[in-house]
């Protein structure tokens, strides 16, 4: 077995990881990755702020249209009017937090911060964004049902439960991507 010249990431059986030099590299990479994560996250926030209100409006309307399609698939007659979704269940307005953009930004920053080559990063970002958009749809649609059948619990489900769950799913997706990528690397290097 040939040892790889460049280790692909943190979460793996890093060849020589018990050696002092590798340990230093590993610890340095952890701190470096955190800094890259924070930098990427703040940069994406800045880009979003630069896009301004038109960018947000477009994002909200697009999410509203997707939600209307999802609700129609489930049999609830729905249609989108701008960022408002009217359905037989409930009428909702899509606002910034409902678009899943914050989770996507967090995930993309984490993928960018992971020390590996760019190709798996691009694949991870593409698949991750699709997965998170699906999660967002599940979230919004389920909240429509909660709002319709359990209106008293809507606020808790909306602001606490689903917000937290979305972050946990984001973390889970990132770890899943990281170990899948590591496994591919191990297969190639052995």
């Amino acid at each position: 077995m040939r040892l790889p010249r460049r280790s692909p990431g943190l979460i793996q059986n890093m060849p020589g990881s018990s050696r002092p030099a590798s340990l230093k590299i590993l610890r340095g990479r952890i701190w470096g990755s955190w800094l890259i994560f924070i930098g990427a996250f703040l940069t994406m926030h800045a880009l979003l702020a630069w896009a301004g209100q038109p960018g947000w409006e477009a994002l909200n309307e697009w999410t509203a249209r997707l939600t209307a399609v999802s609700l129609n698939l489930l049999g609830a007659e729905a249609h989108a009017e701008g960022k408002i979704v009217r359905s037989s269940l409930v009428t909702i307005e899509i606002i910034r937090g409902c678009t899943g953009i914050h989770q996507i930004m967090m995930y993309v920053s984490a993928v960018i911060a992971y020390p590996c080559r760019w190709r798996p990063k691009f694949i991870g970002i593409g698949l991750g964004i699709v997965a998170l958009l699906l999660v967002t749809q599940v979230r919004v649609v389920s909240l429509c049902y909660v709002g319709s059948f359990f209106p008293a619990h809507f606020e808790f489900a909306h602001m606490v439960l689903w917000q937290s769950l979305a972050v946990i799913i984001t973390v889970f997706l990132w770890i899943l991507w990281a170990i899948t990528m590591t496994r591919d690397h191990e297969t190639r290097s052995s």
């Binding site: 703040l42 926030h45 808790f156 972050v167």
Partner: protein, 203 residues
């Protein structure tokens, strides 16, 4: 510790399972967190002779009152969930992370006051930033500060979890002290490959 798909799935499912408990405790404690935050923030802003005062509105939102440049009073309302959400997310993530339950519980107990302090700090810094920018919603920097505040609860939870549970997700041996307890050449490799150390990481 070798991180495989099964462990990751167990972690994900455990985090989802712990979340309702964590969220319920969070919802119970949120009014106390808010009171603590407003009390501390008001003490700090009073000592800084700032034209800000923070109260809790009837809907539970944090209401920041300030005097604008023209002398008129301006009020901004902040949903406390966006700021304090890390106190619901982090316990669920920590309890689901690999390791002994005692260690995980200890991490949860220790992280809550630390996160409260961090939330207070973030809130004050971002409020000051918005104040310096006159709270103009058309200013990109102001929107930027607002966006960061909106997601600070989520990001700090993830960062704190990554900090506290990093050893659980790193390869075996990476958290050992340098030179201490080096395995013998014929011992099983600590990376979990089931091969001898000399044929694996020690080769």
């Amino acid at each position: 510790m070798r991180l495989d798909l099964r462990r990751v799935c167990v972690f994900g499912l455990s985090a989802v399972a712990f979340l309702p408990l964590s969220a319920f405790c969070y919802a119970l404690l949120l009014p106390y967190y808010e009171q603590l935050l407003t009390a501390l923030a008001n003490v700090i802003f009073e000592s800084a002779s700032s034209p800000l005062s923070i109260t809790i509105g009837t809907d539970g939102h944090l209401v920041v009152s300030r005097v604008s440049e023209t002398g008129a009073g301006v009020q901004e309302s902040y949903d406390p969930n966006v700021l304090f959400l890390n106190l619901a997310i982090l316990p669920a993530l920590l309890l689901a992370s690999p390791g002994k339950l005692v260690h995980r519980m200890r991490a949860v107990v220790l992280s809550v006051p630390a996160l409260l302090a961090l939330n207070l700090l973030l809130f004050l810094v971002l409020l000051r930033t918005r104040l310096c920018l006159s709270g103009d919603p058309d200013q990109s920097l102001c929107v930027w500060a607002w966006g960061i505040l909106m997601t600070s609860g989520q990001v700090t939870a993830v960062l704190a979890w990554a900090l506290l549970s990093r050893h659980a997700f790193l390869p075996a041996g990476s958290n050992r002290r340098v030179g201490a307890g080096e395995p013998g050449r014929n011992d099983p490799c600590p990376c979990g490959s089931a091969r001898k150390y000399k044929h694996c990481c020690g080769g």
